[in-house]
């Protein structure tokens, strides 16, 4: 079972209490789920490949344009080297790719202590 990190802590992957789990692929438009965000238990954004960066924009849109405040989980090829960028774009939950070292991964959040972007 893949390791789950929430708010920079490794947690058990328990079923969400209630509500719908929405899942977006890189080609999906977040506008398509805008009306269902309020009742969602969480939104998952899939990263099918290490170098596919579309999910970063999807996360930004969900947080800023569609005002989603609930759990936003990155799934798929999620590695230590993505976590800093993913968190900056609004993800707060990360399902690590199988085989990733969870302790090492946690230090990925600390790669940079400042950022230029507002």
């Amino acid at each position: 079972m893949a390791t789950l990190i929430k708010h920079r802590k490794v947690v058990a992957n328990a079923p969400s209490p209630e509500g719908e789990v929405l899942r977006l692929e890189p080609t999906d438009d977040p506008a398509s789920v805008a009306g269902r965000l309020a009742g969602a238990a969480r939104v998952e954004v899939n990263f099918p490949k290490f170098g596919d960066g579309r999910g970063f924009s999807i996360a930004r849109l969900l947080r800023s344009r569609y005002g989603y405040r609930g759990e936003l989980r990155a799934v798929g090829q999620v590695t230590r080297d993505h976590l800093y960028y993913m968190e900056k774009c609004g993800f707060d939950a990360f399902e690590l790719r199988a085989g990733e070292d969870a302790t090492d991964a946690l230090s990925g959040f600390e790669d940079f202590s400042a950022s230029y972007q507002k």
């Binding site: 924009s57 999807i58 800023s64 080297d81 774009c89 400042a114 230029y116 972007q117």
Partner: protein, 558 residues
């Protein structure tokens, strides 16, 4: 020079630590080849034909003497005591060891340098006019805007895994010396009728295997909106750019496939949400960044009459350029001496050039995208002394703007992508045109050579462009004429390709035809091509149609 603040320094230091960790994980087998590739490339590290290659960032081409000395010492300690200045105003080392790269990056960080985003599918080094800040036709000091964009693009979390590389150029003067038409985004500073500053925004230009000149997406973007507008373009590209085929992944293909109208609508729709958001630039922010640039402390001087020594005169006419401050001039140190690979400099030369910059130009210099070095703030009274020193160092070839000022990629001698070598072709052409009087008679001519269709040598925008192609494992060269950097125009291929030994002779035929047919001495080669068309140049090289098929038969039999 832009001086780092505490955050700039911290980010560069943290980047070194991050890459050190990534390299260690790769060497320990914890990162796959493919994943490490994506990570090392964004730190400038390639695995080349014979060895790794490290591309060191020189943001917008601006360097201090101290930094150049550090580059010299790194090249000595970790490489073979030379480096190659590239068309993106960066420096490439051709022989570093992979496991030593984190050490090299740590040394660079000590002098406020790095290799961040010099490769990989992210936003690359921002390039600009090498006369920024000193040009007589300046509208804005483009360095300040480049630095604002550098900060916005550095580790930008949303745009770190784009479909493909992304190149931005900024031009701050009336004349475009940054080739904004052949970049993913080109920004050309303007003033509107109210004297307010803004940018004309071009998108979707680029060279490579599908050369395209950028389309105007906005005629005038007020400066406050620069970063939010870039965010909008990049977001549309990140979400919709093609990821199925590496050769169709640049933004130019997205713009071409959708049409600029539809692409513009998508960007404007995105921007409607981002406009006036937190990334909107304020005067205070622009001043903060501008304030971190040191400025030369110019003396009040009068313009001088240049000396008339023959060699000095030729040099001042080609390598000395006007300056906005009276009594000063900008000087190009030519890295295009015959027999030296274009853009290559030894560590000893780097040290010597650092000394020249200290003594003659406030300790700063610039790298031009034509692969030369510029001392931007030289007192006119010092020109003759500088010329003598530069000449002794082999850096005073008076060929700027002339045929032998060849732009060339490293080509098949180093690069694993190349189909053919570029350096020996450049040298053979330089040798053929070694006579200075003849060169000056030919006048302005850009000759650019790329070793493959990735076009690092910008052959599409050379007045004469030469492209290395592979035919059944052999190196051949295709010749184009009529390209131009600004206003951007793409060259047209004159016909079937040539063996390497034939190339200088082909260039000579083109030049002879031009000299016989130019309408006056002021009509440049490229103007004659545009006036007469490619056809007569083609005939001058291949003969008429009958002769052409005859020569084709002979070549097929050869």
């Amino acid at each position: 020079m832009y001086l780092y603040d505490e955050i700039d320094q911290r980010l560069v230091d943290e980047r070194v630590a991050q890459f050190r960790g990534q390299t260690a994980r790769f060497l320990a087998g914890k990162l796959s080849e493919e994943e490490f590739r994506a990570l090392r490339l964004r730190n400038g590290l390639y695995i080349q034909r014979y060895a790794p290659m490290l591309r060191i960032a020189i943001p917008y081409g601006l360097l201090t003497s101290k930094q150049l000395r550090k580059l010299a010492s790194i090249a000595r300690k970790y490489d073979r005591a030379y480096g190659h200045f590239s068309t993106r105003q960066n420096l490439q080392l051709n022989w570093p060891k992979l496991e030593e790269v984190p050490e090299i990056l740590a040394e660079l960080a000590k002098v406020e340098m790095h290799a961040i985003q010099t490769s990989g599918n992210c936003i690359r080094n921002i390039t600009t006019d090498h006369f920024a800040g000193v040009a007589a036709d300046e509208i804005v000091d483009s360095f300040v805007w480049c630095e604002l964009i550098r900060q916005w693009s550095t580790f930008n979390p949303e745009f770190s895994y784009l479909p493909r590389k992304f190149k931005i150029a900024v031009n701050g003067a009336v004349h475009d010396r940054a080739a904004v038409g052949v970049h993913d985004i080109g920004l050309h500073a303007l003033k509107n009728e109210k004297n307010e500053i803004g940018f004309k925004v071009l998108v979707g230009g680029g060279l490579g295997r599908t050369p395209i000149i950028g389309s105007t997406i906005r005629e005038f973007l007020p400066w406050q909106h620069l970063l939010t507008y870039l965010d909008a373009i990049l977001r549309v590209y990140n979400r919709h750019g093609r990821r199925d085929n590496i050769h169709k992944a640049r933004v130019k293909i997205l713009v071409k496939e959708r049409g600029i109208g539809i692409f513009r609508d998508a960007v404007e729709a995105e921007w409607a949400h981002l406009r006036d958001g937190p990334a909107t630039l304020t005067a205070a922010e622009v001043e903060r960044v501008a304030g971190r640039f040191t400025r030369p402390n110019y003396k009040k001087l009068k313009n001088e009459k240049p000396g008339s020594e023959p060699g000095f005169q030729a040099w001042t006419s080609r390598n000395v350029h006007p300056h906005k401050v009276p009594g000063y001039a900008a000087v190009t140190l030519s890295l295009k001496k015959t027999g030296v690979p274009p853009g290559d400099v030894t560590s000893d030369q780097m040290d010597a050039i650092a000394g020249l910059a200290e003594r003659y130009s406030f300790g700063e210099l610039r790298v031009s995208h034509e692969q030369n070095l510029i001392l931007a703030d030289v007192r006119q009274a010092d020109l003759a002394a500088l010329w003598r020193e530069a000449r002794a160092l082999g850096l005073a070839t008076p060929n700027i703007g002339l045929l032998t000022n060849i732009i060339a990629c490293p080509g098949g001698d180093f690069c694993s992508l190349a189909n053919a070598k570029s350096i020996p072709v450049a040298q053979a052409i330089q040798e053929k045109f070694d006579d200075l009087d003849y060169l000056h008679d030919i006048g302005e001519l850009d000759l650019n050579i790329s070793g493959c269709m990735n076009a690092c040598g910008h052959h599409h925008v050379g007045h004469i462009g030469i492209l290395g192609v592979d035919k059944n494992g052999e190196e051949w060269y295709q010749v184009e004429v009529g390209g131009n950097q600004a206003p951007a125009a793409l060259g047209k291929v004159i016909g079937p390709s040539f063996a390497r030994a034939e190339v200088p002779g082909v260039v000579e035929k083109l030049i002879c035809f031009y000299l016989e047919n130019r309408d006056s001495e002021v009509e440049r080669f490229v103007d004659t091509v545009h006036r007469l068309g490619v056809e007569p140049f083609k005939e001058a090289v291949y003969g008429n149609a009958d002769q052409t098929s005859q020569s084709r038969r002979e070549r097929a039999l050869a």
